[in-house]
């Protein structure tokens, strides 16, 4: 029903800069605006966290063990007297890196595989389809566990495992997005312009699949952190004493019943906030890049 209003206006709106667009969307959607602010905060903490914290996050006996939050220790202290606030803040960088790298890896390899399958079809499609089916049919969390257990308990392996189990989602998505465009008019036109298949795929089709992929990426970032946290919970996470939200929540959870709530609540809140930010960011990004939302 908007067609009547939108078609002539689109030419007039041509000059609308990205900023104006963003500003409008953020004003229209306060939740997304919040997500962008939170993301900036997380980024800031990841970059400068180690210089901002009051205590060495690794130092035991920064205060008495298991003290409730106080002016000296905003988030209290853990069972070895380490400052929970410092640990939560410093952990931001590691968690963000895990999420970023894991998602970047699965995005790059997944979408490359999916794009090829979607464009060429045929045996490439069938082969990659079988491969993805195999990965998908694995219970994903157990697959991640198995990979980390087999390859060794390091941050790199956690990242690889997370990347592998996320791969099929990107590949499927890329395949679908490329597939619907492989015979689009602009692709035909590109062929007439003498573009090779590779060029068409890389320069013409692939950039168009990015908007839906962006959403998937931001959603997966949160998921990657949760995955690392889950691995930590069963003892396969980052090795101590490195602060990491997942481990802190996993270990802190054991203190809920005994009443030392701050050990789980603060890192838990950080984790939730981060995941939350990424998820909301996903929605916000989709709004930003979706041409249908532009008037």
């Amino acid at each position: 029903m908007t067609q009547t209003a939108s078609t002539p206006a689109s030419a007039a709106g041509a000059q609308a800069s990205g900023w104006r667009q963003a500003r409008y969307l953020l004003a229209e959607n306060p939740v997304s605006a919040m997500a962008f602010v939170l993301f900036a905060l997380i980024l800031l903490l990841a970059l400068f966290g180690p210089w901002l914290v009051p205590y060495d996050p690794l130092a035991t006996y920064a205060g008495e063990p298991l003290q409730a939050p106080s002016a000296a220790h905003w988030f209290g202290t853990d069972n070895l007297g380490r400052d929970v606030f410092s640990r939560v803040v410093v952990a931001t960088r590691l968690d963000l890196s895990i999420a970023l790298v894991a998602v970047a890896l699965s995005f790059v390899f997944g979408s490359a595989l999916g794009a090829m399958a979607g464009y060429y079809g045929g045996w490439i499609d069938r082969l990659s389809g079988r491969l993805l089916d195999t990965i998908m049919a694995f219970p994903l969390f157990v697959l991640a566990m198995g990979i980390v257990a087999a390859a060794g308990n390091t941050v790199e392996n956690i990242v690889y495992a997370t990347a592998i189990i996320n791969l099929p989602f990107y590949a499927r998505m890329a395949r679908a997005e490329v597939n619907v465009r492989r015979n689009a008019g602009f692709v035909q036109a590109a062929r007439l312009s003498g573009n090779s298949d590779w060029r068409i795929l890389a320069l013409h089709i692939f950039p168009n699949t990015l908007p839906p992929m962006m959403v998937q990426i931001s959603l997966n970032m949160g998921w990657a952190i949760l995955n690392a946290a889950g691995l930590s919970f069963i003892g396969l996470g980052v090795r101590p004493p490195t602060p990491e939200w997942g481990i802190m929540v996993a270990e802190g959870a054991n203190f809920i019943i005994s009443g030392e709530w701050w050990l789980v609540v603060f890192p838990g809140a950080a984790l939730v906030l981060a995941v939350f930010t990424f998820n909301l960011l996903g929605d916000g990004l989709r709004d930003l890049v979706d041409p249908q939302r532009r008037t």
Binding site: M1, F186, N195
Partner: protein, 551 residues
């Protein structure tokens, strides 16, 4: 004078957009009497559809009736609550839309969908709903209505779907029918059948009809009165005969002129004195053959299997240098498959293709991309939006073939060439740095043409190049195409379903049906004295506006 069935006064509709309020419809007044058919004609953005949605009160969330009144049988529709409106919709006022297949619930049988309306308005009980639905299907002249009752929309043709939509609309015998572009996207023969059906049914039931269309010819043929809308306002309202014989408003006149008729020439579509008017030179029968097609066939699916389908069957023709050849047929006749094969985007199943003396049919489509002849064979696509990469700037879209095949490495030179091309197709140079979604439909069409002629091809396939454009834009583009052909000496294969456009553009015409060529001949001969039955049917189905008396 009896009170009008529908009385719209001072209707103003606004849309809230991110750049503030946009007025889509302004101070519209119109009246529709019982049993009367009123046409609302206008190009896209004229506000004709919005007006109809306002009557039904199904404007989307952003739109609202800012001012004015709509009265139906004395009831105030603007002030009516949703419940009251729901009672009116479908029972007193019904509406049918363009794109009939999308207008039906894809996962519900058509019979059930008719029943839904009947039951909603208590026109049927559980016991007799089915029987009434079947009766309705029969009424819209669907063969085997008992069987079709169980059909899903995807199992029916577009024309059939529109009949079902009409059945839904008329099931409760409303007093008024709004038909919003009911035949856009349908083949001409289907279009005629559907409109005739509407006409018959409304006449039988003494229904008032509001026909919304962009096609003046259509309105002329089916409406008692016509209002012309432009940019949200009514610029002229008159009974059909008056409107065509003595159009008052400038815009109406321009519109009338731009609509191709059986007698018009390309240049006539544009106002006199318009610099863009172009003159086609007469065909030269002595010109050498550029493209020769022999026994071209394409079969999809494994041969012999039940799913195998012969899309193009033994097609042979020749295209001379500088000639413009029309290829006409209804959807599914194999036009697009043919053009894909000619363009070497698709390998043929059988047949030979000779272009400029070379056997291009022997070159697999996969290898043709880097072949020197690639530059000589170019194409303008049907949908200007779909054929432009939404993430590429216009400049890059036009430059792409030059970069790939033109061998121009020099940036400045490339820049100049792109700007020259833009000038050639009448595209303002400042638009080159925009993205496709920031352009209008006509501008996008020009970009597509500029890209196609960037390499100075010898032959251009034009695949319904103006089907998605408004008539006034079409007029400009058609003139541009003629002009370019004259200047650059290209040959055209002009694919279209619109015989009036083909008449303007082509020296010779081929008629295609179900993959085969049924008739071929000079435009003059073929359109005036068709030999094949199918050609005659096609011609008869074209709605033609009365020739303006003033022209």
């Amino acid at each position: 004078m009896q009170p009008a069935l529908l009385d719209i006064d001072d209707l103003t509709i606004e849309f809230a957009t991110r750049r503030g309020t946009v007025t889509a419809v302004e101070q519209v007044r119109l009246r529709l009497n019982k049993g009367e058919t009123l046409g609302i004609v206008g190009e896209s953005g004229s506000g004709k559809s919005v007006t109809s949605y306002a009557i039904m009160r199904i404007l989307d969330r952003a739109g609202s009736i800012h001012r004015g009144s709509i009265r139906f049988s004395g009831i105030d529709l603007v002030g009516a609550n949703e419940r009251a409106m729901r009672d009116l919709r479908g029972r007193e006022i019904s509406m049918i839309f363009q794109n009939p297949r999308a207008a039906l619930n894809p996962i519900r049988t058509v019979g059930k969908q008719i029943e839904d309306v009947l039951r909603e308005h208590a026109m049927a009980t559980r016991a007799n709903a089915r029987e009434k639905a079947i009766a309705m299907l029969r009424a819209v002249r669907i063969a085997n209505p008992e069987g079709r009752y169980h059909a899903y929309p995807f199992e029916l043709s577009g024309g059939m779907c529109q009949r079902v939509v009409i059945a839904i609309a008329l099931a409760c015998r409303p007093q008024m029918l709004i038909a919003d572009e009911p035949t856009t996207g349908l083949d001409v023969t289907t279009q005629k059948a559907v409109l005739d059906l509407i006409k018959d049914l409304t006449r039988e039931q003494r229904m008032a009809t509001l026909l919304i269309t962009h096609d003046l010819g259509l309105a002329a043929q089916y409406c008692d009165r016509i209002v012309v809308m432009q940019k949200g306002r009514i610029v002229e309202a008159a009974d059909t005969a008056t409107l065509f014989s003595s159009p008052q408003h400038d815009y109406t006149r321009r519109l009338l002129k731009a609509t191709p008729g059986p007698e018009s020439k390309v240049a006539d579509l544009l106002p006199e004195g318009d610099a863009r008017r172009a003159l086609a030179s007469p065909p030269n029968p002595e010109a050498p053959v550029l493209l020769s097609v022999e026994g071209l066939s394409k079969t999809f699916g494994a041969p012999g299997s039940p799913t195998s389908h012969r899309a193009v069957d033994n097609l042979s023709f020749k295209l001379h240098q500088g000639e413009s050849l029309g290829l006409v047929g209804e959807s599914g006749c194999g036009k697009s498959t043919t053009s894909a094969m000619l363009m070497r985007l698709l390998d043929q199943s059988a047949g030979a293709l000779w272009f400029d003396g070379q056997d291009i049919g022997a070159i697999p489509s996969k290898q043709f991309a880097r072949h020197p002849l690639r530059a000589q064979l170019q194409m303008v696509f049907q949908d200007p939006t779909d054929s432009l990469n939404p993430r590429w700037k216009v400049r890059d879209a036009i430059a792409d073939p030059i970069r790939r095949l033109g061998g121009t490495g020099d940036k400045a030179q490339l820049r100049r060439r792109v700007e020259e091309l833009a000038e050639n197709v009448g595209l303002p140079v400042e638009l080159l740095d925009r993205y496709p979604h920031q352009l209008s439909g006509g501008q996008k069409a020009r970009v597509g043409i500029a890209r196609a002629i960037a390499l100075n091809p010898k032959m251009l396939i034009l695949d319904e190049p103006t089907a998605a454009l408004d008539v006034s834009v079409q007029a400009v583009v058609l003139n541009l195409l003629v002009d370019l052909k004259e200047r650059l000496g290209m040959s055209y294969l002009f694919i279209s379903h619109d015989l009036n456009v083909v008449r303007l553009m082509c020296d010779r015409v081929m008629i295609m049906q179900a993959g085969r060529l049924v008739e071929e001949g000079s435009t003059e001969r073929l359109l005036n004295a068709p030999e094949h039955e199918y050609t005659r049917t096609l011609l008869a189905a074209i709605p033609n506006p009365p020739v303006p008396a003033s022209a």
